[in-house]
């Protein structure tokens, strides 16, 4: 098995850049923020992070950013994840394991519908179905 070098990586990146210039680069990207405090890590935030990456990649969703933060103060519902999609209310999801992370990608980021049974904060209760 050959080791991948930075030069190999640079070549792959250049190839991707050429693909990206072909696409419409509208500034309507979604943002996923994963709580990576001790509580989040212990509850599986790393696995949730990887599931988001894998699911977004498999659906070819490239206009989404993934960031990390510390504990959001909702340790009882870790892993917690904040999702911002333009035109939708900003929400914090709780108990986001691998399966829920994949649902959030499919239903919220792609389908533009909230995953109501995992919302732990915002929006107001009257708009959660």
């Amino acid at each position: 098995m050959a080791k991948m070098t930075l030069e190999d990586l640079r070549k792959l990146r250049e190839g991707k850049k050429a693909e990206m210039t072909q696409r419409d680069s509208s500034d309507k990207s979604a943002r996923i923020i994963i709580g990576m405090g001790t509580c989040g890590i212990a509850a599986g935030a790393k696995e949730a992070f990887d599931a988001f990456l894998d699911e977004l990649s498999s659906h070819n969703v490239t206009d989404t950013k993934i960031a990390q933060t510390g504990c959001m103060g909702l340790c009882f519902s870790e892993p917690t994840v904040e999702v911002e999609v333009p035109g939708m209310p900003r929400v914090i999801y709780g108990n986001v394991d691998d399966k829920v992370a994949r649902r959030i990608v499919k239903e919220h980021i792609i389908g533009k519908a909230l995953v109501s049974d995992h919302i732990f904060d915002k929006p107001a209760a009257d708009i959660i179905k």
Binding site: M1, A2, K3, M4, L6, L9, R10, L12, R13, K16, M20, M36, G37, T38, I41, A42, A45, K46, E47, F49, D50, L53, L56, S57, V61, T62, D63, T64, K65, I66, A67, Q68, G70, C71, G73
Partner: protein, 214 residues
């Protein structure tokens, strides 16, 4: 304690980030009878009194969460070391930084599994802190280094999906390379390779990257 060594490592690296470090080095050496981890940072450091308190799970400096009464990062490390007869040494100097060094016996029955280091490395490198992180991971004689600044230079913003996918690919390829048990033990019997040993269960860790060849 944390469920995996990788989770514990992420937690300790986050301590360095929260201590305001601009240079963090993580060295992991997996050898036949020893797992060695060193995390060195140039963060704000601790005096002797604070360091002693930091080992207490019911101590926190109160800066991150005003009303919290627990700080579990170092406490989890001490618990793991104590339960598995490992060793730990922390050297810290206020204003200069902290070095956390621990050694664990991979064959100890109570040691948590090592975990998926590719996931851990991607999470640590893509963390948006304003500083550099260098990861050196070796398994017996094979090793690789990943440096955050170099990866940003090649990939750009590491919160972007395109960059994250390539970062994951880079780390996984290098993890596969150092976990390549055919290369390390070309004639070893599959049953022996399945046994728990220095680098954990070869096949389980190999399978993480979709290369279970048995």
């Amino acid at each position: 304690m944390h469920a995996t060594i990788c989770n514990m490592i992420i937690d300790l690296v986050h301590n360095s980030i929260e201590a305001g470090a601009t240079e963090i080095t993580l060295k992991i050496e997996e050898k036949d009878s020893n797992l060695s981890v060193v995390i060195e940072d140039n963060g704000r450091g601790m005096n002797a009194e604070t360091l002693t308190k930091a080992m207490d799970p019911f101590y926190t400096d109160g800066q991150k969460h005003k009303h919290r009464k627990v700080g579990l990062g170092l406490a989890f490390l001490y618990q793991t070391v104590e339960m598995t007869h490992g060793t730990v040494a922390i050297r810290s100097q206020e204003g200069e930084g902290t070095t956390v060094r621990f050694n664990l016996d991979p064959s100890h029955i109570d040691l948590p599994e090592f975990g998926n280091f590719a996931q851990a490395a991607v999470a640590m490198i893509s963390h948006g802190f304003e500083g550099d992180l260098t990861i050196e991971h070796s398994v017996n004689k094979k090793s690789y280094t990943a440096n955050k600044a170099e990866l940003i230079e090649v990939l750009g913003d590491l919160s972007e999906m395109e960059s994250l996918i390539l970062l994951k690919q880079f780390i996984e390829e290098n993890e596969k390379d150092i976990l390549d048990c055919e290369a390390i033990f070309p004639v070893i019997h599959p049953e022996i390779r399945n046994q728990q040993s220095t680098i954990g269960n070869f096949n389980e860790r190999w399978a993480i990257y979709g290369k279970n060849d048995t």
